[in-house]
């Protein structure tokens, strides 16, 4: 079994190994751009076709939770970058601290996502599963996590949206398909990232990374930043479609 930090057989130098691994990660990230790109296309076409439904759907999302998640993820990118710096200057303890912070922030993000998803299930906003965009407005008692003023706003928006698009319930499912598809895919990548970070943390605690050898920190950092970039786009596309009244 290869030990972290060892020179693998097919390489001549550690330098070549580092170059190769980094290039491999960048090319992998290009595949991820195209992967998310496909669902972005689906989103784009459907948003333009069914703007009222998308606007309605977007406004049922909590801006507070989404905004917090954005800040959390940006901060985690910062701590990750700081972790890479720590490794590059050989500050092993600082590296461990920054990796832990990144991991914690990642879990906060996933926790908030879980809360949001649970809310959607509760409010009958999952496509295909007793989906009903009017559920909360018609059953305020069941949606007790929404305040009366929020419900009032939603009622008004619903009336306007139904006016613009009589088949709103059907088309709103497309918004939530995009929502769950995009954020679900993103969350899956975050979970994988969290797994990678756990491994990185384990190796960091064992003191494997120093100024001479820190490439895994760097390339897992690249992956983490990419996942952050996806969210940088998802946030305005899903949460900020039509916030102005």
């Amino acid at each position: 079994m290869h030990r972290t930090g060892a020179l693998y057989g097919q390489f001549k130098t550690l330098e070549q190994q580092k170059d190769t691994a980094t290039l491999g990660m960048w090319i992998f990230l290009v595949t991820e751009i195209m992967f998310f790109g496909g669902i972005m296309l689906a989103y784009t076409i459907n948003r333009h076709t069914y703007f009222p439904a998308f606007a309605m759907g977007s406004n049922t999302l909590s801006l507070f939770l989404g905004g917090t998640n954005t800040v959390v993820l940006l901060a985690s990118s910062f701590t990750m970058a700081m972790g890479v710096w720590s490794a590059q200057v050989g500050k092993k303890q600082l590296l461990t601290i920054f990796l832990s912070l990144t991991l914690v922030l990642g879990f906060v993000f996933l926790g908030i996502k879980y809360i949001e998803y649970a809310q959607k299930f509760h409010h009958h906003l999952v496509p295909g599963r007793n989906f009903d965009i009017t559920y909360c407005v018609n059953n305020p008692a069941r949606c007790d996590d929404l305040s009366p003023s929020e419900l009032e706003v939603e009622r008004e928006e619903l009336a306007k949206a139904l006016n613009a698009d009589p088949a709103l319930n059907s088309h709103a499912q497309l918004y939530y398909s995009a929502y769950f598809g995009m954020t679900g895919l993103h969350a899956l990548h975050m979970i994988i990232g969290a797994g990678l970070l756990l491994w990185l943390l384990k190796e960091s605690l064992a003191g494997r990374f120093d100024a001479q050898y820190n490439n895994p920190v760097d390339i897992i950092g690249l992956y983490w930043h990419f996942v952050d970039i996806v969210w940088i786009y998802l946030f305005p596309l899903l949460y900020l479609i039509d916030r102005h009244k």
Binding site: T13, L23, A42, N46, T49, P127
Partner: protein, 560 residues
């Protein structure tokens, strides 16, 4: 026919990659790119048989106009499974995963690919994807056509769509990882002196193929992922009843599936670019142009996908743009054909089996390519879309082109892979049988399509029967043409004449190692000081008037 200055070799080298370790674990857990190539060889051959079985069912059924063999529903499953198996599990992996994996490290002078464990993972992912698709077949098969058009595939079909879609989705990652490995290897693992313009065209072709794999495959992955979610969870992107758009599925699907055909043909072109110079004993004409043309095909190939959608009701203006681009993408392919032809001119041509396959490729690819231009022409396509004209077109390219390239390559490099030579005369006869069988199978289909017989139909008007019978007869001959190499190549691997390092002789770096090569490929890292396809200044290969001069290889700095 060997003209190397050294005496003929009588025995295989003592230690090579095949006998380095024994036991099934040493194969299933190998990270040696050469062994992984053989693992792929076994798997793609297996899927070739399965796809071939479905083809046989189709052709047998179509012998009579009223279709006595299969019901309509079963027929749908036959052509669907034929397409899915052949495209995703045979054609796309074939040359890259078998020949590419085996040869690229050898050709660039490296000990292995950049990521050997990822290479093994890539094979396992392929197998897992294959298992899902096999499960789909056992569960009754798939009847949507290999194109999985929605909403039939996502809402209305009663067949095993989800496992098949999942299988193809998973196998896509195998393709992505292979492409990634090749790209990085060519960038960072080349031996000293192996500059970009000394690389064999085979490597350039695989580099271009890898670019396509990297940029295209993720899109089919997300498309099939969304389709699977639509089928299983009721998401609605592609379902009109929910406001979704089937044309969106087609755009996403073809964005990959058109470049996919370039994944299938570029490696075969790479093989032909190795065969022609070797068997014409001449420098390839216009090396730079051939290399650039490979990249051009890869790039422009991404801009033409909607030519599969001319009849869908998409925008006529968009269709016009895509049609124009389709004509443009033919240009780099034509450049390659002209360059191969120019290579032959004034060369010393020998008709060894690999060369026969190369000639077959060029002729059949020209037919397939030109008929592609007919299809790319909007007016003509209105009439021949979804007819046997299209079927004939793509089989000329895929079978007449890609499979011929694959077989030519297998014959050419078989001595390197196994250390033993195949029997030349039976191989030539098999190649001819294949060529005859192929044309008898598919040329009548051009006529059928032009006369109006639709594809994917289980019955047809009686006046088309004669062409269908010709096609089926041809298919039987084609099958013999495929079975023969499988038999004699296997035989040759154990009992063929010992080949020595360079039986042809050819000029690539892979021919400087023993046959079969040792696990680490090169005992001493080669330092490259010569240009590719140079048949006149390679004393180390006996390709010059005088005797070999100086050491064959110089030790590199910091070497073993």
């Amino acid at each position: 026919m060997s003209t190397t200055a050294t005496a003929p070799v009588q025995t295989l080298p003592e230690h090579h990659y095949l006998n380095a370790t024994y036991g099934i674990r040493s194969w299933l857990l190998t990270t040696d790119h050469k062994r992984i190539a053989l693992l792929y060889l076994a798997s793609v051959t297996f899927f070739f048989f399965i796809g071939g079985f479905f083809a046989m069912m189709i052709r047998l059924h179509l012998m009579t106009p009223n279709g006595l063999l299969l019901s309509a529903d079963t027929y749908n499953r036959m052509f669907t499974m034929h397409g899915v198996t052949m495209i995703f599990f045979f054609l796309i992996p074939s040359i890259p995963a078998v020949l590419g994996n085996f040869l690229i490290p050898l050709m660039v002078g490296a000990k292995d690919l950049a990521f050997p464990r990822v290479n093994l993972l890539s094979w396992y992912i392929y197998i897992i994807g294959g298992c899902f698709t096999l499960y789909s077949m056992i569960a009754g098969g798939l009847d949507t056509g290999w194109t999985f058009y929605t909403p039939f595939s996502t809402v209305y079909s009663n067949s095993a769509v989800a496992p098949a879609v999942l299988g193809v989705f998973i196998t896509g990652f195998s393709s992505i990882l292979t492409g990634l490995n090749f790209l990085v290897t060519v960038h960072t693992m080349r031996a000293p002196g192996m500059t970009w313009f000394r690389l064999p065209i085979f490597v350039w072709s695989h580099y271009a193929t890898s670019v396509v794999m990297i940029l295209g495959t993720p899109v089919i992955a997300i498309t099939l992922g969304l389709a699977a979610m639509e089928r299983v969870f009721g998401l609605g992107f592609f379902n009109p009843a929910m406001g979704g758009d089937p044309i969106l599925f087609q755009h996403l699907f073809w964005f990959y599936s058109h470049p996919a055909v370039y994944i299938m043909i570029l490696p075969a072109m790479g093989v032909v670019s190795e065969l022609i110079p070797t068997f014409a004993r001449k420098q390839i004409f216009g090396y730079g142009f051939v290399a650039a043309a490979s990249l051009a095909i890869a790039v422009i190939g991404f801009l033409v996908w909607a030519h599969h959608m001319f009849v869908t009701g998409q925008s006529t203006y968009a269709a016009l743009a895509f049609s124009l681009l389709t004509f443009v993408v033919a240009i780099p392919s034509a450049i390659k054909v002209f360059n191969w032809t120019a290579t032959l001119f004034g060369g010393s041509i020998s008709f060894d089996t690999p060369m026969l396959y190369a000639f077959g490729f060029i002729g059949l690819f020209i037919v397939g390519g030109l008929t592609g231009l007919f299809l790319g022409c909007l007016g003509v396509d209105m009439h021949v879309h979804d007819t046997y004209f299209v079927v004939a077109h793509f089989h000329y390219i895929m079978v007449g082109g890609a499979v011929m390239g694959y077989l030519g390559g297998m014959h050419f490099w078989w001595p390197k892979i196994t250390g033993r030579m195949y029997p030349e005369w039976i191989a030539r006869i098999a190649a001819l049988i294949l060529f005859v069988g192929f044309n008898l199978t598919f040329f009548p289909q051009f006529v059928l399509g032009y006369l109006g017989m639709p594809r994917r139909y289980h019955v047809y008007p009686p006046e088309f029967q004669v062409y269908n019978v010709m096609s089926t007869a041809g298919a039987s001959i084609l099958a013999v043409g495929y079975l023969l190499p499988m038999i004699y190549l296997t035989w040759a691997a154990f009992y063929g004449k010992v080949a020595g390092p360079n039986p042809w002789p050819a000029t690539g770096l892979e021919w400087r190692t023993p046959s079969p090569p040792p696990t680490e490929n090169f005992e001493v890292t080669p330092v490259v000081t010569w240009e590719p396809y140079d048949f006149h200044h390679r004393p180390d290969l006996g390709l010059e008037g005088g005797a070999p001069q100086g050491p064959a290889v110089a030790p590199a700095h910091g070497d073993d």
